[in-house]
Symmetry: C2
Subunit: 357 residues, 2 copies
């Protein structure tokens, strides 16, 4: 199997209400069954009228831009300076919610398409029904990523092609099971297409030819048979934040840890469970961390239990003991251990340590 | 410009000491000047002998695998269960330091190439000098990424092609400057090549034809002229962790925040600077957060200053006041504000708040 990637030139300016299928087939009359059409999200947004006018240059323009981004933001993931990495309402994590001022006149910004998978399906269906081309469609956009400089194009939407190429259940030629191998093929198609699209050449569409697509076994529409659409990009490629090891920026997560320390409840919301043996070593480490960093203000006694209890006693420095008790609780929370505290004013505090389920 | 992507089949098993240039040219005698050769890192590792034998299946094998990963790890970025996302000694952030058990017999694991850019340069130079092919070389590997399911291939090394295609300084056709647009073209080439390589077909090499490479203006080697090698992938694509908003996993950064709360020094290491007006609102918010979450144990008075000072006084509950003072300091640290604390035992604590440079 070899692939060819063709730029589609001559599409020209796309305006709200434009008929993209017509524009594409006119520019690429050679479009053929089995091709994958990779379409820059920007021309879909423009055709959908997802343009927002900006005030004249100046502070009002910057404020308006920030408001537009806020409207497209479901959750801020990380911020530094004027950079905002956010999750959009679709779930994509990207800078400025994908709101973009390039390749549009300077008095507008362009929003992402409302439903990129839906737009891909509609374009695919129209190309089949009206132009008798059975193609797959990938809607692409440009994104940065953690850890690596430079941008790459990835998919925002897809139709007629499964976003993941699933190798799970297969074995390599040594017989090793490929347990983790799901390639995000639509992202790779978007990246491949960008190699011929460029950013300034006015080439918003490319065609990838030669990829084996699923057989055309779907219902006929106007005489053209289409496969049923597999689940889209949003459904398959957007990871649930709860499953993500990087759901928040480092500075934001660190601040969340500091806020958690500020608001540790005296009694944890869940019952404390008996500590595994390894955790008793963590308790001793936490006590050493706190007593090592503070002036000696108290005597500390650890009872292994269960329950494991740390007792702090101070004759003359109750404020410092109270502070150190809270330091200890924060250190234990950092190690994943939950605590309950009792203050026996003015000289003794008891910290009960448990495994938080 | 259109591209073609060809798989290189028939390379067969690669063993330590193998002559990759010879294997590739034999399998792809059609390799031509200007082609980009995308080579899976695994066959480079195998040719370099970067294979580590494992003990017989069982707990010892798992321990050995963990030790091998630790040896390839410069820094652990995130961990959950048995998953380890680490920075390798090259600086790549990836699962298990790229140590892989697929496409190798089950008694070995494969390490990443020691110097993927160097390996790319050597392969390129050998292909030029001995086989008279002037090509670019990209060394690829498969990685996961935050926020999106599925894996994509990216570049670990490159020669004869700049890793970034730089659009900065150009303008789009509306005259907007493209200030941020640096496409990681070698990553996109790796992704494109994977579309024809697959994971189980024994196709470790692909050729991308049609990309305009730099003119061959470098020094002649054995009669073949090569361009000087631009900086490699490690130098250009690996982001400095200090510049990265996601240098640590969310759980790890949150734990670091809790640990920071446990170890706040009584006096910050840097001089406190006068608070900007906006920060005074943060101070009031932090006081409200702490006094709202704790039982009323003290009177709190905020003096705007400079310096801004929060005074807590308690007649009968000094332990709780000490604890609440530390909660307050953690809340202020979460807002980016540094504090110094003085305990006037047993009833009064003074927290001085400053902007930390």
């Amino acid at each position: 199997m070899s692939l060819q990637i063709f730029p589609v030139t001559g599409i020209g300016e796309v305006t709200p209400g434009a008929d993209l299928a017509e524009l594409i087939v006119t520019a690429a009359p050679w479009l053929a069954d089995g091709d994958v059409l990779v379409v820059t999200s920007k021309i879909i947004s423009k055709a959908e009228g997802r343009l927002v006018p900006l005030p004249a240059p100046g502070p009002a323009r910057e404020t308006a831009r920030i408001d537009v981004i806020a409207g497209e933001t479901a959750r801020t993931v990380a911020a530094r300076g004027s950079t905002r990495i956010v999750a959009t309402h679709h779930g994509f994590v990207m800078a400025s919610a994908g709101v973009d001022a390039s390749n549009v006149d300077s008095d507008h910004v362009v929003l992402l398409p409302k439903d990129p998978d839906g737009a891909a399906r509609m374009l695919r269906a129209t190309l089949a029904a009206r132009h008798h081309r059975r193609v797959a469609v990938v809607v692409s956009d440009t994104m940065g990523r953690p850890w690596r400089n430079g941008l790459t194009d990835v998919a925002l939407g897809a139709a007629g092609i499964p976003p993941l190429r699933d190798h799970r259940g297969e074995t390599d030629r040594y017989g090793n099971p490929l347990t983790l191998t799901q390639q995000a093929q639509v992202d790779q198609l978007a990246a491949a297409a960008d190699l011929v699209k460029g950013k300034i050449d006015g080439v918003p569409v490319a065609v990838v030819r030669g990829l084996p697509l699923a057989p055309p076994d779907g219902p006929a529409r106007d005489g053209v048979t289409l496969t049923a659409d597999p689940p889209g990009v949003v459904e398959t490629l957007v990871r649930n934040p709860a499953d993500d090891l990087f759901s928040l920026g480092t500075a934001e997560a660190r601040a969340a840890g500091l806020r958690a320390a500020a608001t540790l409840p005296d009694t944890p919301p869940l019952a404390l469970h008996a500590l595994p043996a390894a955790a008793l070593a963590e308790v001793r480490r936490a006590v050493a961390l706190v007593t090592g960093s503070a002036a000696a203000s108290a005597d500390w006694v650890v009872t292994d239990g269960p329950p494991c209890v740390v007792r702090g006693t101070s004759a003359g420095a109750p404020l410092r003991l109270g502070s150190d008790v809270h330091r200890l609780r924060a250190a234990l929370a950092a190690a994943g251990l939950a605590t309950a505290v009792e203050y026996h004013e003015p000289a003794t505090a008891l910290v009960t340590v448990g495994a938080d389920e």
